[in-house]
């Protein structure tokens, strides 16, 4: 029996045109939301409208369209600010994605605060985008990367984390929510521990922002980053939130138009926040589209989304567990609606190929989190990542598909 729910799933699905696609003449079941989410009509229409009626380059324009677009762009920044409840608009930097945001911090924070022998702490469950920038930085600065391990449930081992902290620790960068295990980390606790000894914390919110209410002031987090395309917005957009005191002190990452105050060959001075970190013509159309996506999410209601996705998680956990030889990776107490799993003696890619033919889009492989795979001693897994526009019926189709593939592959 399906859970009853307070969400009108049919109505919501109407808003997302891609969901009505057929692939190989089968109804598409889109469970690859961890990789990217679909866009509601309101976002598509907004982008269309901007391209058709008002497109013009922002900032410093003296003409009407430029003024209009600048206002919309800055309103988008205000929207993001209020969405994550940042204190100041100037703490919101538009980037091209989570990866760019993390690299920006790694470079800029690194230039200012990291020197030989310093330590940076990340975790074993990070996405490559929250590993490699730190490896590159550590190599450049001869600093050291420390890793918080996770336990058999896929939860960070806080006692181990505490042991890693030393007076050389300069930054802690962990994922708010794991894209593979689904674990929602105890970030409040991590931040508290770190702040007791004045270590700043960066949270990778790429898989958290679309699933629960984020309040950066309440978290008291120093840096928070996420991607637009994973929260129903356009590709090529991302956010870097940073506390003003850090952003003020940190040097710019990229040089170019808009991020400068005055340029001469003898002396260049930089613009104020947030522009110091926004070099070049920004993806203003994308940013405004992202704001529209946040509007959409707020209209549905983040709490409503969260509770419905919880039901999707519980239902899929129950049904997946019924399948012979199937093992779910990640059993944290607090978990988003992401299911990574492996099936005895079946290669995930074989399973994925067959599910694909049945119209079910899942991800296979390492999910850009090879250390998680290494933890379990596997090469890859399957991953079904569900969001509020997915239905219980779709989970049934997935389950039937897995069984069918199993019978073919055994």
């Amino acid at each position: 029996m399906k859970p009853t729910t307070n969400i009108d799933i049919q109505k919501i699905r109407e808003d997302f045109p891609v969901l009505h696609q057929k692939v190989y003449n089968k109804k598409l079941v889109y469970f690859d939301n961890g990789a990217t989410t679909q866009k509601p009509q309101s976002v598509i229409d907004k982008i269309n409208e901007l391209h058709s009626f008002t497109n013009s380059s922002i900032h410093r324009g003296v003409h009407y369209l430029s003024g209009l677009m600048t206002e919309e762009y800055e309103a988008a920044r205000e929207k993001v600010r209020s969405f994550i409840n940042a204190k100041e608009k100037s703490e919101i930097i538009f980037s091209s994605g989570t990866t760019a945001s993390i690299n920006m911090i790694a470079f800029s924070f690194g230039e200012k605060y990291i020197s030989e022998g310093d330590e940076i702490i990340i975790s074993e469950m990070e996405h490559h985008s929250n590993i490699v920038p730190w490896q590159l930085l550590c190599e450049r600065k001869k600093a050291v990367l420390k890793i918080i391990p996770f336990d058999e449930n896929g939860e960070l081992i806080i006692s181990e984390f505490k042991k890693l902290i030393s007076d050389k620790t300069k930054l802690i960068s962990v994922t708010h929510t794991s894209n593979t295990l689904g674990t929602v980390n105890p970030v409040k606790e991590i931040i508290n521990i770190a702040h007791k000894i004045n270590i700043p914390v960066l949270l990778d919110g790429a898989q958290a922002i679309q699933h629960e209410k984020i309040d950066v002031q309440e978290l008291d987090v120093d840096f928070y980053v996420f991607s637009g395309h994973k929260i129903y917005g356009p590709t090529g957009t991302g956010i870097l939130y940073g506390k003003q005191k850090w952003l003020e002190e940190m040097p710019p990452w990229q040089g170019g138009g808009d991020m400068v105050d005055k340029v001469s060959f003898t002396k260049t001075t930089f613009n104020s926040l947030p522009f110091k970190f926004e070099a070049g013509t920004p993806n203003y159309i994308g940013a405004i589209g992202l704001a529209k996506a946040l509007d959409y999410v707020e209209n549905i209601g983040v709490e409503k989304i969260k509770s419905y996705e919880k039901e999707l998680l519980n239902y899929s956990t129950r049904e997946l567990n019924k399948i012979d030889g199937l093992k779910i990776l990640g059993h944290s107490k607090d978990k988003i609606s992401v299911q990574s799993f492996i099936i005895e003696s079946i290669h995930p890619y074989d399973m994925g190929m067959i599910l694909d033919k049945l119209g079910v889009a899942v991800r296979t492989g390492s999910h850009c989190a090879q250390p998680v795979m290494d933890h379990f001693g596997i090469d890859g897994s399957l991953r079904a990542s569900m969001v509020f526009y997915n239905s219980f019926e779709e989970i049934d189709i997935l389950i039937d598909g897995i069984k069918k593939a199993q019978s073919m592959l055994k």
Binding site: H59, R60, V62, S66, G67, T70, E71, E74, D261
Partner: protein, 145 residues
């Protein structure tokens, strides 16, 4: 006259204009009439840089009253500067601090004081109020008004 009386006066003046051309012509006239700022204030220290045009502002305090002088290198901007000075000059610091300059909107110049226009005007208004606040708290901080 009080700040709001001056605001009303300006609104009345502008109400006779039919279109933007009349308004701009009037602003150009006002800009031309505004005596430039004393050259000793036409320096980087008193500059409010708006990228597109420059605005210089000086404020002096005496007995709770603020005297502003200001200038710009662009004439239409200078016209708007003249209006701002006309409204706020020789007013009480305590009043300037928190005043709502609604006349700007009413006379159709809102876009020129939008944050999207980097002409220095918005910063100038902020700076005028900041001076008032600064002087007020320096000299009248313990008074209740």
């Amino acid at each position: 006259m009080s700040i709001n009386e001056l605001q009303e006066q300006i609104i009345a003046e502008f109400s006779v204009f039919d279109d933007w051309m009349d308004r701009y012509n009037y602003l150009i006239e006002l800009g031309g009439e505004l005596p430039g700022i004393d050259p000793k204030f036409r320096t980087d220290e008193f500059l409010i840089n708006g990228c597109q045009s420059k605005v210089w502002l000086n404020a002096e305090y005496k007995n709770g009253i603020i005297t502003y002088t200001a200038d710009s290198d662009a004439i239409i901007v200078k016209g708007i500067v003249a209006l701002l000075v006309r409204v706020l000059n020789k007013q009480k610091a305590s009043e300037i601090m928190n005043i709502d300059l609604y006349f700007i909107d009413k006379i159709g110049l809102k876009e020129n004081l939008s944050p999207t226009r980097s002409n220095g005007l918005l910063s100038m208004v902020k700076q005028m109020k900041l001076y008032a606040l600064a002087y007020h708290s320096k000299y009248e901080g313990n008074k209740i008004n």
